[in-house]
């Protein structure tokens, strides 16, 4: 499959990674039940069809994968009996906000002081004040507002990963202690 993406292995691996990352966003945005599983299923279906299409298909491999993904989205909706365009109610209280808060405090410790300051300052204001404040922060850091947004995003992504890990540890510990968790 990688060879079909690109003869250069490194480029092919990068293409695979790009497609998979994009597929996850698409499945999440279409409210699919298990985005990771569906991304795997996309590549499995591609692998099965590859023999038949590799010599004839001339387009972008990403486009072909996307076609498979669209089919999977329709199948997923049918399976869950959710018609296109009709939305279900959001899940409520799946996550304990207190646990997230405690984990946030722990995860902030892993950040450098500058990153702690940036992420907390970034979320200081709202509305017009937020726009002005971000502009001022960008000026003080001598970077563009786009770069500031990207920096804040990277810190937030790392915090999210750390918090999820922390939450799963908390859940395991709580289960060991025999207490009820929200997970």
């Amino acid at each position: 499959m990688l060879a079909w993406f690109d003869p250069d292995r490194a480029v092919a691996a990068k293409t695979y990674d790009t497609i998979r990352t994009g597929l996850l966003r698409i499945f999440v945005s279409n409210r699919c039940k298990d985005p990771g599983e569906l991304a795997d299923e996309t590549f499995e279906r591609l692998a099965k069809r590859l023999e038949g299409i590799s010599s004839t298909y001339e387009g972008d491999p990403a486009k072909y994968c996307y076609g498979i993904a669209r089919n999977l989205i329709h199948e997923d909706r049918k399976r869950r009996e959710i018609p296109d365009g009709i939305f279900s109610e959001p899940p409520i209280d799946l996550i304990s906000q207190d646990d997230v808060y405690e984990c946030l405090l722990e995860c902030l410790e892993f950040l450098t002081f500058d990153k702690q300051k940036l992420i907390l300052d970034y979320h200081l204001y709202q509305g017009k004040a937020r726009i002005d404040h971000h502009r001022q922060m960008a000026t003080e850091l001598s970077i563009s507002e786009d770069d500031l947004r990207t920096r804040a995003h990277h810190i937030r992504v790392n915090l999210e990963k750390c918090i999820l890990l922390c939450m799963s540890t908390t859940a395991v510990n709580n289960n060991r202690a025999g207490t009820k968790t929200n997970y």
């Binding site: 790009t18 990352t21 409210r31 486009k63 509305g127 004040a129 995003h153 915090l159």
Partner: protein
Amino acid sequence: MRGPKPITNEERNKVRSYLLAQLAEVESEQLELRLVSDSAFVEEFDTVVDELIDDYLTGELSEAERQSAESHFLVAEERQEKLAVARAIRSLVQKNRKDRSQGVTTNSLKRIPVYMWVTAVVLFAVLGVAAIWMITRPRATQTVALNLNITASDRGTATKPERITIDSNVGELRLSLRLPENEVKSSSYRVVLVNTDGTTRNIPVERVNNQFVVVNVETSTLTSGTYALQVSAIDENMHERRLNGSYLFELVKS
């Protein structure tokens, strides 16, 4: 390190519409196709997700957008997790702000690792030496204190601003901004200094009481001219409300 190539505002708006299920099918498919073929676009896409979550939390979405967010955008477990993290960050920021205004050490500061405290102690020692040098060196740094009242007009209009004449010995202005009597008091305020050239910057609030918001401004950052200070009250939900009018002063450096 440079970030990815930013997308245009129009593209950001399209991503936003897509996330809220408000983008036409053809455009949605174009956008999804780009997601599987452009890794830089994925990163920009993710920043729009963050922004939309923030806007949802701070109540900045229209009613229709809020409904779409709840019935579509926030349904996936991944987004619920992101929402919970964003909510926790906001809570912490709000708590820090409240604590700071009450002079309480924040929880996050208590949790700063030991090596950072060691660094801080060393830094304080260095700063201490520097401070002694600053105090003992032959240079006068006086502070001029002044009470200012709010005026209905902004800088440059008919109201005569308070004149402050200072010489080179004055290093700092301590400005006590008297709050209007009929103003509903808040525990937190934001002060913006409008410079002579019309540019603005935030000035840290030193102290707040029932009557005044006190700020210090270094005179080295000011030139002779007329300045305006704009004050906004911030309530416990972090909503900002600008006080009508400005605090004007004219600085004369002799």
